[in-house]
Symmetry: C2
Subunit: 359 residues, 2 copies
Amino acid sequence: MRIEDIALEAGVSTATVSRVLNNPDLVKPQTRERVLEVVRRHEYTPNSLARGLMTKKSKTVGVLIISITNAYYMEITEAMQRRFRDAGLMMLLAATDDRPELERAYIREFAARRADGIIVIDASEENFSDGFFAREATRRPLVLIHSNAAITASPLDQVYVDQRLGMRRVMDYLVGLGHREVALLRGERGFSYDVKEAARAKWLSERGLPERPELVFRIADGNTEDAIPLAEEAVGAAIREGRLPSALFACNDLMARGAVNAATKAGLRIPEDLSIIGHDDTILAVSGRIQLSSVDLKMRSVGAAAAELLLSALHDEGSRPPRTVRIEPELVIRDSAAPPSPHTAPPHATPSHATNLHA
Amino acid sequence: MRIEDIALEAGVSTATVSRVLNNPDLVKPQTRERVLEVVRRHEYTPNSLARGLMTKKSKTVGVLIISITNAYYMEITEAMQRRFRDAGLMMLLAATDDRPELERAYIREFAARRADGIIVIDASEENFSDGFFAREATRRPLVLIHSNAAITASPLDQVYVDQRLGMRRVMDYLVGLGHREVALLRGERGFSYDVKEAARAKWLSERGLPERPELVFRIADGNTEDAIPLAEEAVGAAIREGRLPSALFACNDLMARGAVNAATKAGLRIPEDLSIIGHDDTILAVSGRIQLSSVDLKMRSVGAAAAELLLSALHDEGSRPPRTVRIEPELVIRDSAAPPSPHTAPPHATPSHATNLHA
DNA sequence: GTCCTTAATGTAAGCGCTTACATTTTGAGT
DNA sequence: ACTCAAAATGTAAGCGCTTACATTAAGGAC
């Protein structure tokens, strides 16, 4: 069924059918109804490829993420999809597996398909720094979602998730509770870990407090299921050897959960003997007996903001100056942190550890 | 940049440029190189809308799921995306929020965009039974992913996840361990709960065992985060009132986790005092101190199979008879189930409960 | 050199829409 | 009944590609 068939059957020209479909009030109610009847009877749907060819709009937005099985990304994506649904846009979704060359390839593909706009979550540093995105943004609306403060000043539409603020809030809270030291548990490699570690270091140095590298614990894989046992192992060892202070921040809930398991296994009570804070506020935070305090990155707000940014760019077409929206993470306080017990030594304290406390 | 610009600059006709891009060996190596040079220099990418208009192929597949923030669906989706990437197809993703009318609308939209194929996960009963999918399948490759045994015989491409088998395996295992009764914990409404409850009932009746409706526990919401506390509450009450037998199957890991929490809180040991089996084998199964045995639905295999089915349908175009692939869930055994302790009464046993055990 | 087959390229007709512009209808104003 | 602007519709030119068919170039065989 093509528009011509409908036109023939309704006894009008293709232009009129097109008008009925796109600008109904340009056509006389009577004719309109006649055309619509035929359209309905044949369940005719215009070919959007042909339409897109003419209008240069595909009603499509390309969304690029690192991994599909990642609650963080998918919450953002869901929020966007909701917004786009209302705007009549469809979403092309692709995962880069954190490979910069795939990132480029997919963006090219989006371009080839004439996506009206593109959203990239946690883009690779590489493609950003060589101006690839800046160039791309001149061709069509592009919005970046990330936590990289360095990018913030670039003239690009972006949603900046201020993880440094989140980190500050964690430190404020824990230290406010009376903890003298806060250990950090992170994955070996990954931008988000670096951001958090750096933010913690900054917080400490701003207060003239020492950064003690031995309080940063690294596990090989912080992102997948394996992070839980790995974290459990690392934290278990630290407890046994008395290397753990009274508070621990884990860079995500997976690791936090592992830490909780290790502590429980070692006979430590949470939060009395050890305070633990997680990050991302995923289902894991609320799944166990003890409910983890965690940093909520507000993914839904992030997704909504990104969608809104793109939509407005689509609308204003051209002259509009790029905007950057900053999202403030929130520390969700539950039951996994408390003041360090004054009457108790830090978990399995050793003399050397006690000394370190005053370092 | 259009193909014509490239042609002009390379001093050939548009047809030749098109050939260079689509059938390189139809053109003399020397000309080919000249054209490619221009293409590269301008980073020219053919407009796939125009191409699709001619070829009647969009290199796109539409994927429809109920919710984007659902680990189950996303694992399937990730497996598909991997396969489609290799095949040069892009994925349009949309969520129906379990609304049949949205399901239809999106499928129409996929059709309008001339998606080469469509995959629907857990389609609504409604759209299936009124022949909507059957009709749709005549127009373009369509594959359904579901657990509905009733559909299995339909002449449609489908991936059938045999949850009944999974349920049987759970019952075999638990009863094999020596449990006399197995409680079921489910959400109030939802097809997947019904399937499991029915499979359990069937298993029991095949063995002449009584179905005791009071051993089926329902909570209002089994799908979201709230399921954990709701399950905890329900199971906690059942324990207190001695209504819980020595084994419990939860329809998903959320509820299983809630059950574990309730048992722990009540001072019960798992698995010694209470055996618990979860379902879906998500991260929740391995996140806590006690590792939950759970039914793995093999989502990755499901996704891969669905993609393969679609790809083969795309390839054979037409005459190919529809196939249905059956996926066998697997019971992953961890630490949450054990034989009921012979020396101990069932948890908080009451006389009436003890009587029921022999019913 | 001529003839003929095959390889290489060009020409032009669409694919199914939208839309600028041209033409016809309509109806209020006189 | 006649004008004329406004409303309704039609005509046809593309949008940027692919591809059937036509044409030209290349290279053996004689």
